[in-house]
């Protein structure tokens, strides 16, 4: 079923009062909220950052205390699995890149839940009955507006391989940074016409000797300060780092790619009702609005966009999720190309 149809269907269904037929009916929510208040709090493990205001809004609105712990994606699986095996998983709700949650689901750590708040989301955002995607960790190139004139700015991905950017690019290490690896692979599958074209691009990028950093976090600073002109980074920094002179590309119709951000409730959640209430809130237009506006996140909530010039017109696509073996294989290959 094409997404649009599904969405329309859900709208219709809601409008026709068919909501009661869905797995978690809105009718039950009143009961959940009371139970959640009795449970007192909802614990949220997430790799997404700077979401304290959203968690605070949850507490304010529901009266259930939201507690947020940030766990980086490289430690996410090991932390959650360790805790779960010892019967001490503290989290009620977990949020991480899709592949992480799929690993956790395979280990039986996630519970099925379908939030009514995600009714308007695209169909592909629900790969199974427990995982719900809500955003895309969109990646693209950023450049310094004051250093690079609009006319000179790279218009297409291919332009990054232009020799004029030699020694002027910063990016996360393509040998190890999973999101960057996935992004490069995503370009092959979703942007470039042929594997050859893509390989030419990758080799051209490598020939520009980009400066490597450990993750996306350190990428904007060198662009802002002018140490480098261009970075493979996340457009959300245009929001969080305003008024830094950052601009994004490509604006010529090529899509932006990213790993889906997903969330789920844990199977043995210490506060199950609070977990559901939290997830409902997180997926609500209000929370999505905050994520987009304050954190610059790209959310799947229809009609909500981060306040970045031109982003509403951009095509933002989820990258096919690569398993670890594939990421490692590509990582090794990029290591060859970029550092060999």
């Amino acid at each position: 079923m094409p997404p649009l149809d599904r969405r329309t269907f859900l709208h219709l269904a809601g409008g026709a009062g068919l909501a009661a037929a869905l797995p978690s009916a809105l009718a039950a929510e009143g009961g959940d909220l009371a139970k959640a208040k009795a449970e007192g709090r909802a614990v949220f493990y997430a790799n997404i950052t700077a979401v304290e205001p959203v968690v605070a809004a949850f507490t304010a609105e529901t009266g259930v205390k939201g507690e947020y712990t940030r766990i980086s994606s490289s430690k996410f699986v090991s932390t959650v699995v360790t805790e779960a095996q010892a019967g001490k998983l503290l989290a009620d709700v977990v949020q991480a890149p899709l592949p992480v949650l799929e690993l956790l689901r395979e280990k039986g750590i996630l519970a099925p839940y379908r939030s009514p708040a995600a009714a308007g989301f695209p169909d592909w955002s629900r790969p199974d009955d427990s995982i719900q995607m809500f955003g895309i960790e969109y990646v693209s190139y950023l450049y310094n507006k004051t250093q690079v004139k609009d006319a000179d700015a790279p218009k297409r991905y291919e332009d990054l391989a232009d020799a004029k950017w030699k020694n002027r690019i910063v990016m996360a290490d393509p040998a190890s940074h999973a999101s960057t690896i996935s992004w490069l692979v995503g370009l092959k599958e979703k942007v470039f016409a042929s594997e050859n074209d893509w390989m030419t691009f990758v080799k051209g990028l490598a020939a520009n000797r980009p400066m490597f950093v450990a993750s996306f976090g350190p990428t904007p600073a060198p662009i802002e300060s002018g140490e480098k002109a261009i970075g493979i980074s996340m457009p959300k920094y245009i929001v969080t780092k305003a008024p830094a002179p950052l601009a994004w590309g490509p604006r010529g119709g090529q899509p932006l790619l990213g790993t889906p951000r997903a969330m789920a409730i844990t199977a043995k959640a210490p506060h199950p009702a609070a977990a559901r209430v939290f997830m409902d809130f997180w997926l609500s237009p209000k929370a999505a609005g905050m994520l987009a506006k304050d954190v610059g996140e790209y959310v799947l909530t229809p009609g909500v966009f981060p306040p970045i010039d031109g982003i509403h017109a951009a095509k933002v696509l989820p990258i096919r999720d690569l398993d670890d073996a594939e990421i490692q294989k590509w990582g090794a290959q990029f290591k060859q190309i970029f550092k060999g």
Binding site: A56, S73, K75, T82, A96, S176, P222, E227, D324, K339
Partner: protein, 566 residues
């Protein structure tokens, strides 16, 4: 009495062992286990995979250069500074205390980032200035290089070396040098043939600690090595555990085992080099002639050098931090940048409930953790240096166990361990983890302080009928005050900025400063990160001042008692 020494030794072995063996054992299990955690089917595959990578050789070569280079730099700098401060008439001695301590208070990530800002080849401030001044076409410095990494890591590790060497230097029996001069040796020859060899235990201790520390260090390789494409063990391990979403810590642990083995071997070598019990006893209870070596014509040039060093090590990075906390985003200093300065990052940090909680937790961990850690360290150092019972060597190695494991892996070992205890996800878990991991910061300065306490001093007190405990309390501890203060400062400032364990162990309610700072770093929020970093430095400063004052107060009391007894 021998019985009691043995009981003390084994008691401590049990305590320290419980603290440090558990996480390492977990990692050892993990390295032999198929799957992602500590228990499962036995396999050697991880070792095979970890050690057969052809790239490893290059990495190891870089690692050796990095580790030895930075440790040499740190030790030599510390020696020179300690000598200038304690033994010469150089002016501005207050600088030395500051110089020795400030780098410990600056989170290493921030220090490295500050250096990247100063000396990156594209637009580093120092490079820019030099290029403008001398009309150069290319940047004279590249901080993203092995030598840049050695410089920064060396500066960062210098305080540890200084805090170990300076007390030994200060309590050095000057008549050893004076006699050398009477017999015809000049200042230089005396330095080389008498002073340095007599200080060998402290110097070696500083060196070994430096090696172990820089082997496990991650911040500098990450911030400076990665852009320079210089891979060392720490970044190699990071790559190993960060490719993909289900990293195999067991494999990283398999590699970490050789870092551990290296450290253990070093410690044994160190022990055997300094094993002759009474050899390096130098303090004499009446040695109060702090004769000062006149520097003569070298006085001002050396002072200028120290000032320059202070500028590089303290002023520049702190200034960079302060600057970054006021500008809206990373910008090269300019009129435009100064015009845009505001308190925005500061108000945001102070409005953030988690940051405030993290602040409280970190201060608690620093004060309580360092205090408990120092008490434990006093006993451990006493057994290692003074009792030298059969278990002492084992005890000493145990103190280094989790310390010498690469930081990014040991945290996971602790998690695997704590999750089986009720301590999991509590502040106490952090406390225990900190003390276990950084025990050498307490034991090392105290051990070199103990070495300086003449056996006769103890014996005379024992003869006076005091019990061993009383001896410890009345005679030894007061003489150890400089060591105690050094140990406390090292531990407290370390705990205040601890990241590697915290990032794995902290949970809602047990957030700490460094984790908060890392969060900001991951979001590229350098402004907030700098603001919080400065808060952290301010707290560290307060703790250090407090410790020094308390130490001075105790020391003057102890001196009065000694004189009354004499």
């Amino acid at each position: 009495m021998n019985d009691r020494s043995a009981r003390l030794t084994y008691g401590l072995i049990a305590i320290v062992g419980a603290l440090t063996v558990a996480p390492v054992a977990m990692l050892a299990f993990g390295s032999f286990t198929a799957g992602l955690d500590a228990f499962g089917h036995f396999t050697l595959a991880k070792y095979v995979a970890a050690y057969t990578d052809p790239a490893l050789l290059k990495v190891l070569g870089n690692t050796v250069i990095f580790v030895v280079g930075s440790t040499l730099l740190a030790t030599v700098l510390a020696l020179v500074l300690a000598y200038l401060n304690t033994r010469t008439d150089i002016p501005g001695k207050f600088l030395f205390g500051v110089l020795a301590i400030v780098p410990m208070m600056i989170p290493h990530v921030l220090f490295s980032v500050a250096w990247a800002l100063l000396a990156n080849p594209s637009n580093g401030l120092i490079n820019r200035a030099l290029m403008d001044a001398f009309a150069l076409d290319s940047a004279p410095f590249d901080i993203y290089s092995l030598s840049g990494m050695i410089l920064v890591e060396g500066l960062l590790n210098m305080p540890i070396a200084y805090l170990i060497i300076a007390p030994a230097m200060a309590s050095f029996d000057v008549s050893l040098e004076e006699s050398s001069r009477v017999f015809g040796a000049g200042t230089w020859r005396t330095l080389l043939r008498i002073t340095l060899p007599v200080l060998r235990p402290a110097i070696l201790a500083a060196f070994v600690l430096g090696i172990v520390r820089s082997l496990a260090s991650y911040a500098v390789p990450r911030v400076l090595g990665m852009p320079g494409r210089v891979e060392v063990l720490a970044t190699y391990l990071f790559e190993m555990i960060s490719v993909g979403f289900a990293p195999d810590y067991g494999k990283a642990a398999a590699l970490g085992m050789s870092a551990l083995a290296t450290s253990i071997v070093l410690i044994w070598v160190y022990r055997s080099l300094t094993s002759e019990g009474g050899r390096f006893v130098t303090i004499s209870s009446r040695g109060w002639r702090p004769t000062v070596v006149p520097l003569g014509r070298m006085r001002m040039p050396l002072f200028a050098l120290v000032t320059l060093l202070s500028f590089i090590v303290i002023v520049l990075p702190v200034a960079v931090l302060a600057y970054t906390s006021f500008v809206p985003y990373s910008m090269v200093p300019s009129m435009q940048a100064f015009a845009q300065m505001s308190w925005r990052h500061w108000t945001e940090v102070f409005a953030d409930a988690t940051s405030l909680l993290a602040l409280r937790n970190s201060v608690f961990l620093a004060v309580v953790g360092a205090t408990v850690g120092v008490v434990l360290s006093i006993f451990v150092a006493y057994v290692i240096v003074k009792l030298r019972t059969r278990g002492a060597a084992l005890l000493e190695s145990l103190t280094y166990l989790s310390f010498s494991f690469p930081g990014i892996v040991i945290g996971v070992g602790f998690m695997w361990f704590f999750v089986h205890t009720p301590l999991y996800a509590t502040l106490t878990a952090l406390l225990v983890g900190y003390i276990a991991t950084y025990l050498p910061y307490g034991v090392r300065p105290l051990a070199s302080a103990f070495v300086q306490v003449h056996a006769h001093l103890e014996e005379s007190s024992l003869v006076c009928g005091a019990s061993r405990m009383t001896t410890m309390r009345r005679i030894i501890v007061p003489l150890l005050i400089p060591g105690v203060v050094a140990a406390w400062i090292l531990m407290a400032t370390m705990f205040l900025r601890e990241l590697t364990l915290s990032v794995v162990l902290s949970r809602p309610g047990s957030e700490v400063l460094a984790v908060q700072i890392l969060g900001f770093a991951d979001d590229g929020l350098w402004g907030k990160l700098s603001a919080l970093g400065i808060v952290m430095i301010a707290i560290s400063t307060a703790l250090v001042l407090l410790a020094s004052l308390v130490g001075r107060w105790f020391a003057s009391g102890a001196k009065a008692r000694l004189e009354a007894n004499a």
